[in-house]
């Protein structure tokens, strides 16, 4: 039996919930036990948003054991295997879920909180944030998903899918591109989303 935890973090309106739901459905299709939660109280009001996706993956001959397979919908501290941050300041917020084994993808994009406007606070740039997180895990990557989404699609709506493409290309998630593709089609997503995931995967391969 294996557990796998994905945390998507960002700001309301960035598509955090959408990519979380996609991952939950894709896991269910694979026959995983899927649990998760969303923190979305302020999702439409530029508040912080999270989606936690947790899989229990049983071996072929393994039976469901409630003592080992019951999951909290919230990821325990340090247990996130994959963290996708669609906004870089939000990566700092979720640091307690990250351990030395986690993979962290940070979109090079910032949305200034109003508090920063009112009090003239400066956000650390994305690179500084990435370096801070490297104190916890070496597996931190900055992705220019917003710039790519803007260039390829004319707006920022595909950032979540591009980030997912990068995560898939890392080859550490228990999901393949095909798993996601089939699920996206089932959920009635447009072809642009699939194209965005492919672009993300290429982005990753280009960097390696």
């Amino acid at each position: 039996m294996k557990k796998y935890n994905i945390l998507v973090a960002g700001v309301g309106g960035q598509g955090v919930i959408t990519v979380g739901r996609l991952l939950k459905r894709a896991g269910l299709r694979k026959g995983y036990i899927v649990v998760g939660t969303e923190t979305r109280g302020a999702s439409q009001r530029e508040g912080p948003v999270d989606s936690a996706v947790r899989y229990v993956i049983l071996e072929d001959d393994e039976k469901f054991d409630p003592r080992r397979c019951t999951l909290s919908p919230i990821i325990p501290m340090g247990d996130a295997d994959m963290v996708m941050c669609l906004e870089s300041n939000e990566a700092l917020r979720v640091s307690e879920y990250i351990s030395s084994k986690s993979y962290v993808l940070i979109n090079d994009y910032q949305i200034l909180p109003t508090r920063a406007r009112s009090f003239g606070l400066k956000m650390p740039p994305t690179d500084t944030i990435a370096n801070l997180l490297k104190k916890i895990t070496p597996n931190v990557r900055v992705v220019n998903a917003s710039a790519v989404s803007e260039r390829e699609f004319g707006d920022l709506t595909k950032v979540n899918m591009i980030m997912l493409g990068v995560a898939l290309a890392l080859g550490v998630m228990p999901l393949s591109f095909e798993d996601i593709e089939v699920t996206l089609r089932e959920m009635g997503f447009s072809e642009d989303n699939i194209r965005a995931i492919r672009i993300g995967m290429k982005l990753m391969e280009g960097e390696v």
Binding site: V34, V35, M77, G78, P113
Partner: protein
Amino acid sequence: MSMEEFIEEILVDEPGKKVILSGNEAIVRGAIEAGVSFVTTYPGTPASEIGDIFSHICRKISGLYFEYSTNEIVAIETAVGAAWTGARALVAMKHVGLNVAADAFFTICYSGPNPGALVIAHGSDPGCYSSQNEQDNRYYALHAHCPLVQPSNPQECKDFTIAAFEMSEKLDLPVILDANMRTLHGLGEVTYGPINPPREGKRFVRSQFKYVNAGFVALSNKKRLLDRFRKAEEYAEKSDLNRVFEGGSSTGIITAGGAFNYVMEALDSLGLYDLPVLKLGIVHPIPRGLIKRFSENLERIIVVEELEGFIESDVKRIAFELGLDVEIVGKEYFPAYGELNVDLVVQGLSKVLGVKPKKNYDEIRKLATEVKSKYIPRDPIFCPGCPHRATLYAIKKVVGDNAIFGGDIGCYTLAALPPFNMTDFVICMGAGLSIAAGISHIIKDKPIIAFIGDSTFLHAGIPGLINAVYNNANLILVILDNRWVAMTGHQPTPATGISSTHEPTSPAVKLEEIVRACGVRFVKVFDPYNVRSAMEAISEALEHEGVRVLIARRECALQAERREKPRRLELQKRGIAAYYILEPERCQMCEECYKNFGCPAIKKSIIDGEEILYIETARCTHCDVCRQICKSGGPAIRKTIVNPHLLGV
């Protein structure tokens, strides 16, 4: 998935089908499988979606009635009325909604819901994610002698809803289904059961000894209530909603609801698989026989539960009454505030058991704290184009900080945050007005201004307004009328002009007519998008005495945008576009629009080494307020239209 596809999926009669649902969605499915025929609600996070889904599906099921009620007590009274004709009725609300419903709730327990059934589905909010408190409503169940069940995942949300209807009908008691935010917003796999046709109400049979709670009837109903509750205890003894996970250790755990998941994962994380675990599904009444059997070979019981030590007290009482020789611990190891999680449970359990957690929590926390110290907290803010922002801005321009501001529950609670800081207290729905009235009887040298939303006004504001007028309070009430219950997902109100099931109707009430009927002489309606007229209305109100009401009327920008944006995009395809632009060469960087108005569509960037402000066109809703308030002569902000000739005449 579109709403249509979702409705199809949640209504499909395919027993054994597995789907992924949230707790709220699973409660809806459970109620449908149980043959619910009557649903009422007042929306409140985390339980709003229950009513919202019913508002969309009720037309698909013949014999199913749904309404958005004006508040929770109205909702529960309406629901029990249906139950008394034989219907299976569901009322959904958030935990604090039960405070509003409490007056009716206690006595409904006296009468009982038979011949029908009444399930109160309610969402609690440990951690106060979207509430003014985290009260533990299990004490309502205790106080009112009302059975209460706590599911721990979406599958149980469905199954427990069905069980709750059966219990309610059999015991002639309402049943509370109490789920926390994580369970209701959490997602998990649910296996469908068969759908039963709605059990509709048929006739009301007069029975004064059951329904007329006055004098000796009330007293005899109280006695009947105690008898029914004893039956509930017997029922709970046999219920399979309570489950025991066997183990050989001399320490056992009792838990319930969301805490069960944390316990199981914490035990797994500690590598402890032999502690017996009793998971209570029915948390009130706790079955004594089961507690006795569970504790037989135990030296110690650890009670792990979210919020207060409710189960803990009850188990201690039962242990005392039965003379059980077992140590019982609980809240001294697990916090009674905020939500629990696996890590808190691991740390609590390891302290009780004297074992070491596998994780080095100190180190994780130290590193995370260091990294997190660079995080700038992200307050939720008013959306671009939000009329509340414009109203608050205009008020601040006129009165400055020299006023006392009464806040209330809704999007406009955000007035408390920068850049406005225009809320001095928040208690509960409707409280802002009456607290302001109280203050106005003492404080005479400052304007006293209370805010209330349109839905909150209809929910809890009217008695307070009548009282303020009758007793000569001296204040300005600003009704922020954005036509919807915006904070909880845009449910309609009686003043919206949309029925509970989304059909256009004429508005049932007009706010200004209600206000006048309450005795208010000074009533002014203004459009917050017109800054000058808003400021004039506020100035005029300040010149008067007594209770003055200003109605700031403008539809929620999110709702307006849902209609307007597709139209704009369509025009864009034809090459016609309208934009608001901010011209850097004319802008004097006073930052009035950016800092003091604080519209999130206005942003800052650095071009050629110089700071500039710009408007993010994709987020701008064309509300025009920033143009009106622009201080740079000239004006630096204007609306521009590309290819207007293509529009024709």
